[in-house]
């Protein structure tokens, strides 16, 4: 797990956060992430994030479900153990549509949930640094990654000028780890 240096600024107002994100990106700083208590419309665009590929994955899972259902039922009811149900043809597609539909939905849903967890690195006992616990309550937290070209003092002043309060330079883990937060120092304790 790589430790990296971040400049972390806190915002209390969306109306200040949006122009700040714009300024930071325009100034060429490397925006690590913005943590917000609730989803904010348009912030992803402002941050320059690309569209998620989750729905493409969902489509592929759905198609997999469809072909699994049709393939398996076809094999079972026409090749492996053909049974005559009320004079219907062995390949009785209309009767299989409900099952096919259900399996499509099941594959797509379960697959997408797991993919979402994987993309967000969410799992039981997996922990990540999230800079400021108050980003789950009432504060918008912006983290700028320090590169070799970043002048820290200047960056701190820049963030302050953009409206951030309580700007700090912190060294954090960029990855995830198994464990708990018990040994972490909370900000209010520092």
């Amino acid at each position: 797990m790589a430790k990296k240096k971040f400049i972390v600024g806190n915002f209390t107002d969306e109306a200040v956060l949006f122009p700040a994100v714009k300024k930071v990106r325009r100034a060429g700083y490397k925006l690590h992430d913005v943590f917000t208590p609730f989803p904010i419309h348009g912030l992803d665009k402002e941050m320059g994030l690309r569209d998620t590929s989750l729905h493409t994955a969902g489509f592929i899972y759905g198609i997999t479900g469809t072909s699994t259902a049709v393939g398996f039922i076809t094999w079972a009811l026409t090749i492996d153990w053909a049974i005559n149900f009320g004079g219907k043809p062995y390949f009785a597609l209309p009767a299989w549509i409900p099952v096919t539909f259900e399996l499509t939905v099941l594959f797509a849903a379960v697959g997408m949930v797991l993919t979402f967890c994987w993309l967000c690195q969410l799992a039981p006992f997996v922990k990540k640094d999230h800079f400021n616990p108050r980003s789950t309550d009432d504060t918008f937290v912006m983290a700028i990654e320090c590169t070799s070209a970043t002048n820290e003092e200047e960056a701190v002043k820049f963030l302050q000028a953009a409206g951030a309060t309580d700007v700090k330079v912190e060294t954090k883990d960029t990855g995830w780890w198994l464990g708990n937060y018990a040994n972490d120092k909370m900000r209010f304790e520092q």
Binding site: H55, I97, P98
Partner: protein
């Protein structure tokens, strides 16, 4: 091009609309010469069936606009406000097409030719146990009353909804209390419309107008399925007008976000239609009872097989695969193309509802019916254009309008 707030028809608009109407009239004349004036009752029925199919389809499609307005009103939706005048203008066509449709239906019911509606033949009904049993529902008086009342109520309630919307144009509501009252009034009238709508399109009307062509057969899903068909076409028609107005520099506050939502409606109700269509088909297929399967015999296996399966592909597979992507629903070109495909597909759907019973031996020449359809399209274009020009394109004093301007999906 500068943005204008009131619609004035572009140079060629009315010319195109009137020439489409001319094509329609020519097709009707052609149809009359080739079939309608023939001595063979089946040939005569083919003429009337074409008028029936087209007038009922386009009446239900324009009526879907008023349904769209009323459900969004009842749901307190605000996103549609920036283009609400478009469905309002389309719904202004209801009385025009409604009168035509009612006239055609009554002409068929009271005419001497009983090929389309067997149940109008009193002699035949006496000996036909099933039709005799259905006499309480399928009789001329009830049909006339319901048809006339339906067209009347749709027109009057729709007029009231448009009236309410336009009443604000020059007198903004000053206080919160007034705005609340206004929304409440809208809700009450929209609810009344929905009650009428559910008693007609969603239950009895398609049984009477379309299903009674196959008078012995019945399906309780039929009305829902017809409703889904016309609602998705209605939304497609709204989308077409929205794109058209955007292209001509109107509707400045309508953008990708609103188009995206219309696209979602088109996608979702295409799937909903398929769900109902398949539910009706599968139960009959599985039960395999002769008096029920007789409906699908000419359609799925007989001479109407081509139309039946083509209509299934363009009504389900095409919207499913093409409209699934987010970017497709935000693309003006794709939405226009899919809207045209959907309207054509559901027109074909109505075609296969009407004709197999009327013309069981050969598939009629569909070119004439397409011509008649173009006539109705022209009529809708012309009347909607006139209605659009009557009021500003943005209902700017409506309490929910801000919601639409900042709409974001």
């Amino acid at each position: 091009m500068s943005i204008r707030s009131t619609f004035t028809a572009p140079k060629n608009y009315n010319t195109v609309a009137l020439s489409l109407i001319a094509i329609g009239v020519l097709s009707i004349i052609g149809l009359w010469v080739t079939s309608g004036s023939s001595a063979d009752p089946r040939e005569q029925a083919r003429f009337w069936a074409s008028l029936l199919q087209n007038s009922v389809f386009f009446l239900l499609v324009v009526n879907a606009s008023m349904f769209f307005i009323c459900i969004t009103t009842l749901a307190w939706g605000g996103w549609q406000m920036s283009f609400r005048r478009v469905p309002e203008a389309i719904s202004a066509v209801i009385p025009v097409v409604g009168v035509i449709c009612a006239a055609i239906l009554l002409a068929i019911v009271f005419g001497d030719n009983h090929t389309i509606y067997h149940w109008t033949d009193a002699e035949h009904v006496k000996h036909d146990e099933i039709l005799n049993h259905k006499k309480g529902f399928l009789n001329k008086t009830f049909f006339t009353v319901v048809t006339v009342l339906t067209v009347l109520l749709w027109s009057v309630l729709g007029w009231k909804m448009r009236q309410l919307s336009r009443s604000l144009d020059n007198e903004p509501l000053a206080t919160l209390e007034e705005r609340r009252k206004y929304i409440f009034k809208n809700t009450v009238w929209a609810a009344l419309y929905i009650v009428v709508f559910s008693l007609t399109v969603m239950s009895s009307l398609p049984w009477m107008w379309l299903m009674s062509i196959d008078a012995h057969w019945y399906s309780t899903m039929y009305s829902w399925y017809t409703f889904a068909s016309t609602f998705v076409s209605g939304v497609a028609l709204i989308a077409l007008f929205v794109v058209f107005l955007k292209n001509n520099g109107y509707l400045e506050y309508t953008n990708d976000e609103h188009l995206h939502d219309l696209g979602k409606f088109m996608f979702a109700f295409s799937v909903f239609w398929t769900y109902l269509w398949f539910s009706q088909f599968m139960l009959i297929w599985y039960a395999n009872i002769p008096e029920e399967t007789i409906y699908f015999q000419p359609r799925a296996h007989g001479i109407y097989k081509g139309i039946f399966w083509m209509m299934f592909i363009i009504n389900f597979i095409a919207p499913l695969l093409i409209l699934m992507r987010r970017s497709a629903k935000r693309n003006y070109g794709t939405i226009t193309f899919m809207a045209l495909v959907i309207i054509f597909g559901h027109w074909l759907d109505f075609y296969q509802m009407v004709f197999p019973a009327v013309s069981p031996d050969k598939v009629p020449n569909i070119i004439y019916d397409l011509g008649v359809a173009l006539g109705f399209v022209g009529l809708i274009m012309y009347s909607t254009g006139r209605a659009l020009a009557k009021a500003p394109l943005l209902a700017r004093n409506h309490p929910f309008v801000k919601e639409s301007l900042i709409h974001h999906t």
